[in-house]
Amino acid sequence: MNDTRTPPASATLTERYVQAVTRSIPEAQRDDVAAELRGSIADQLDARIEAGEPAEAAERAVLTALGDPDKLAAGMIDRPLHLIGPRYYLDWWRLLKLLLWIVPPIAAFGIALGQTLAGAPIGAIIGATIGGTLTVIVHLAFWTAFVFFLIERYEVGGAKEGGVSNPWTLDDLPDVHATRARFADMVVNLVFLALAAAVLVWDQLFGLVYLDGRWMSFLDPGLWPGWMGGLLIVLAVEAAFQVVLYVRGRWTVGLAVANTVLNLVVAVPAVWLLSQGMLLNREFWDAVIPDDPEKVYGILSVLTGFGIAAIAIWDTIDGFLKARRAGS
């Protein structure tokens, strides 16, 4: 019954129907659903044939009444048939609107500035700005919807499990100011992450500092694209984390653990790169402080390393403190 191959053309309509239903059902429940469905179809067939209906017409009628197999499968495993349901729709929509107000203008400004600095002709500046801004808008729309799509499906302990045993009381009424603050926190964090990503990419592609008649990057140019790509992915995960945190409404031990993992994923490679002399752009520091660059670079590396570690440790502890205060 674990056989998920396409049935041969001679397979009965019933068998094809059962396969169509069970193909999207998780392995663990598949045999159970298939067996029950087969039994049910057979029972209904028998009843119709006993009533004098020809077998073939009866089979067609039974299967037609069962309807779209994907819809039935979704019902069997309680899988929502919408991207974002009423529970999160307003959160998603509010966040998307706000981000659309903030991020595309910044992106447009940044792209235009970059193109201008690179000495592009006016046509190219306008073209790149419009194109780049549209791309940013599409990404915003896609990623916010995607994060909420995942929350809708994988949020545990939500209203679905609570069922009838979770009466709503006035105590559940969110404090208006607290909610707004949390919402604002999330938006600030998201915008900050987007800006951080933009600055990192800019630094690698164009350079952040103008020295000795040319633009230089602050971080080692060798980080592009491998290390930097990884960091951008972590930043995206961090953004998703911020949304989940907002939707949950409070820190939990699980979220604090996830926060710790995210901190480790950033801090450990960063400190390692630093110790290998691969994080900061050597050339830049040599240009800033020409005297005894070796010593300066060494001191700077130590300071940066401690800085990274301190931020990661503080943020990790802060997450757990907030989780404990939230009483989880």
Partner: protein
């Protein structure tokens, strides 16, 4: 047999479906105090005037089982193996609560001003 096949008089169908939905849950929980399998339950529901389709009943049974209101067991004694469901103690309490609520609603409706 299927609500969707009925002519939709003044958009009534969708309201009638909404109203019936909860009553099928109640009927299942009460009927399954005696163990039963899908098709037998479908038959008794229909014969007792609870208009239900197979494609809503099976998902409903699974949902109630997942919530702990039903327990299930495969019976392989017959030539055709069947999954028997039975209302759990928790499900019986739910059925009681639903019945109570339904009576209260019926009483409340009776007390509404008469229609013309």
């Amino acid at each position: 047999m299927n609500d969707e096949d009925m002519p939709d008089v003044d958009g009534q169908t969708i309201h009638l479906q909404e109203l019936r939905r909860g009553t099928v849950v109640l009927a299942c929980l009460r009927l399954l105090s005696e163990p039963g399998y899908g098709y037998s339950l479908l038959e008794s529901l229909q014969s007792r005037g609870f208009d239900t389709d197979a494609n809503t009943l099976y998902p409903l049974l699974r949902r109630l089982e997942k919530q702990g209101h039903l327990t299930s067991e495969w019976n392989t004694d017959d030539a055709r193996p069947r999954k028997f469901y039975r209302t759990s103690p928790e499900g019986l309490r739910l059925a009681q609560a639903l019945t109570h609520e339904f009576r209260a609603i019926a009483a409340a409706i009776d007390a509404l001003p008469e229609e013309d």
